[in-house]
């Protein structure tokens, strides 16, 4: 196996939870929340890793930490032999590590034309471009847009077109790694396929490694090689995409996959409905942090935090009682039903 392009070891990111006097009065452990809490993962050249999880699970923060947009509170990040935790020259790093932001239109300056926007990376990094028109046209073509888009402004673009401009900008400097934050957010299903095909194509052509952040489970199988599932800022399961989609080992992954409604009315079945909601980061449960919502939690899950260990899926799972290959969870224990109404 080749050397990983990107290695994260025990990465954590913290945010202040309280401001002003409240922060001074609070005990030290309550002053900050850990949005990302000890994440380790690696990405090989040409590989696509999808980080999935619900809102607040820390997946976007993780991508931003890799790109230096939020500071690390702990852990190390190694990108192509370079340590990123001790303040590298970010401009040089970002030349090889492009970011595609979540909001396709919002991440484009409204006062610049598409032509200027896709050549902006060259200006920022001081790279001379021999013929701006030719370069812009080539980049637009690579992202599947006609040359006449060059003079348009972002508000004249549809969501899918703005996303293509985002792809063109990310590819401009021929990076080794692309961090794509929710590449399908806000796109209609009829457009989504085009964008994912485009990403798959450029990835194959240029041997790009991609870290995709998404909550869209339907697309995982078609874009990712491996997936990592996050819950409360930690990775609870990681492994090859097909193995995890068909028979996940972590009860949370299972619930997440089961919660995804299928576009098939004949597939209606008893769903596994998790009780409650994701707890706040300020009130992390003891032991395994998923145990209050877990349909198969045992007594000691509340006490002992599981480590990420090798699983039958070929990946790793952070569960002391992982699910077997044929095990399905269908219903919650009776305690999960909503409290009876009081007359």
């Amino acid at each position: 196996m080749t050397q990983p392009l990107l290695t994260l070891t025990d990465v954590s990111v913290e945010f202040p939870a309280l401001g002003g006097l409240k922060a001074l009065m609070a005990p030290p452990d309550k002053r900050r929340v850990q949005a990302v809490a000890g994440v380790s993962l690696h990405l090989h050249p040409g590989e696509t890793l999808a980080v999935v999880g619900e809102s607040g699970s820390g997946k976007t923060t993780l991508a931003r930490a890799v790109n230096g947009l939020v500071p690390l509170a702990g852990g190390t990040v190694n990108f192509d032999g370079q340590a990123l935790q001790d303040g590298p020259d970010w401009t040089a790093v970002r030349r090889r590590m492009a970011m595609m932001f979540q909001d396709p239109t919002g991440s484009l300056s409204p006062r610049k034309t598409v032509g200027d926007l896709i050549l902006e990376p060259f200006v920022i990094h001081g790279i001379p471009v021999a013929d701006r028109t030719v370069k812009a046209r080539d980049l637009l073509a690579a992202a599947g847009l006609d040359a006449d888009f060059m003079d348009r402004y972002p508000h004249q673009l549809s969501g899918g077109q703005a996303r293509r401009v985002g792809v063109a900008r990310a590819l401009a400097l021929d990076p080794a790694l692309v961090l794509a934050d929710e590449p399908t957010a806000g796109l209609d299903v009829s457009i989504q396929g085009e964008i994912l095909n485009l990403m798959n194509r450029v990835k194959a052509e240029r041997g790009l490694a991609t870290l995709i952040i998404t909550h869209n489970l339907n697309i995982l199988r078609h874009i990712a090689d491996r997936i990592a599932v996050m819950y409360l800022g930690r990775i609870v399961e990681t492994g090859p995409v097909e193995a995890i989609l068909t028979a996940p080992a972590h009860p949370y992954t299972h619930a997440l996959m089961a919660a995804n409604p299928e576009p098939d009315p004949t597939a209606r079945h008893e769903r596994l409905i998790l009780k409650g909601e994701t707890p706040a980061l300020t009130a992390r449960p003891s032991g395994c942090e998923f145990h209050p919502r877990c349909p198969v939690a045992r007594a000691d899950c509340a006490r002992i935090a599981p480590a990420l260990e090798p699983a039958r899926t070929g990946g790793k799972v952070a569960c002391r009682y992982p699910l077997g290959a044929d095990e399905t969870l269908t219903a919650c224990p009776p305690a999960a039903s909503p409290p009876a109404a009081q007359g």
């Binding site: 396929g193 489970l217 339907n218 995804n260 209606r268 409905i273």
Partner: protein
């Protein structure tokens, strides 16, 4: 079964600087009492305009150019403002997409739920009791205490439960759900769908469920109406439409959902092209530019709605040739 909602030939246009934008053109749909009818379509198909028209909440630059909307036999479009105020909330109500913005942040939940009952001739204590009962019904722990709480104290899923409690408090005949699960996570989405089903079974209201998410529609609805670029293109029982779509747009939309593919696809399907300019809609069929089945007739004649099997129709000249 009676028709709770009947929309016939509804056309709405907006006055814009580029000219009159025809957001809805000849839209027709029925919702029978006790049914859950899904409206599915992508951005720009006119879903939001339809909801605004149903509630008579269209912005000032909008004009209803044609058609009727009947709620339980009563014409909404000609109803007086006074009558509309009486109808909204009691006979028809809406659960909006974003529970963060649809609740008033400066009023307590109890106050907001009391306000909904302002036409009821009962005491405040009774109004509070009814509100607490409904909050308990939608699964809020400790409902009496919640009445004194404010929306910001609740999580997104709980806020959407409160919005559902408010919308169903007066047992409306028609509940319009405007993408109620889009802002929620997958594990909460199933909770809210199950809740809507339970409430519907209990109070027997009809639900018009607006969504772009085919999976949710398949899961929840009895019938489905497909919209494209301001027109209703197909309607029928949900199982039939997913199994044998009779409009090329529906067929493509279903094909595009990657959740349908159980093995890795190197090339994901998409619908090439883009929405037509609604300030100057093309002649004939609205979908013809993006359709594989289009022939000359599609360019000249607007396809009429015609029955393709009992209980369903399609607006396509080539409905019989559509393959799933």
């Amino acid at each position: 079964m009676t028709e709770t909602l009947k929309v016939s030939g509804l056309s709405v246009s907006y006055a814009t600087r580029q000219g009159s934008l025809q957001a809805l053109r000849d839209v027709s749909l029925d919702v029978q009492s006790g049914q859950i009818v899904g409206v599915v379509g992508e951005s720009g198909c006119g879903k939001s305009t339809l909801i605004s028209a149903l509630m008579r909440l269209l912005p000032e630059n909008a004009r209803v150019t044609d058609g009727r909307i009947d709620l339980d036999g009563e014409d909404i479009l000609t109803a007086s403002p006074r009558r509309l105020r009486a109808m909204r909330g009691r006979e028809m109500s809406v659960v909006f997409q974003d529970p963060m913005t649809s609740l008033n942040p400066v009023l307590s939940i109890g106050r907001q739920m009391r306000d909904i009952q302002y036409r009821e001739g009962v005491s405040t204590a009774e109004k509070d009791r009814r509100a607490a009962h409904m909050l308990g019904r939608v699964g809020l722990p400790d409902p009496e205490a919640r009445l004194r709480g404010y929306p910001h104290e609740l999580s997104g899923g709980m806020r959407q439960r409160v919005a559902i409690a408010m919308a169903t408090l007066m047992h409306p005949k028609l509940l319009i759900a405007d993408e109620p699960t889009t802002a929620l996570d997958a594990t909460l989405e199933v909770q809210i769908i199950a809740l809507l089903q339970a409430i519907q079974a209990e109070i027997g209201c009809a639900i018009l469920f607006i969504s772009h998410h085919l999976g949710v529609i398949a899961e929840l609805c009895d019938r489905v109406v497909v919209m494209y670029a301001g027109e209703t293109v197909e309607e029928g029982p949900v199982a039939d439409i997913f199994e044998r779509p009779a409009h090329p747009y529906t067929a493509k939309l279903i094909e595009c959902d990657p959740g349908r593919l159980k093995t890795r696809a190197d090339t994901l399907p998409s619908i090439p092209g883009s929405l037509p300019d609604l300030t100057d809609p093309p002649s004939g069929c609205i979908f013809r530019d993006r359709c594989d089945l289009a022939t000359e007739i599609c360019a000249t004649q607007r396809p009429p709605r015609r029955a393709v099997s009992p209980g369903r129709w399609s607006a396509c000249h080539h409905a019989e040739k559509v393959t799933p």
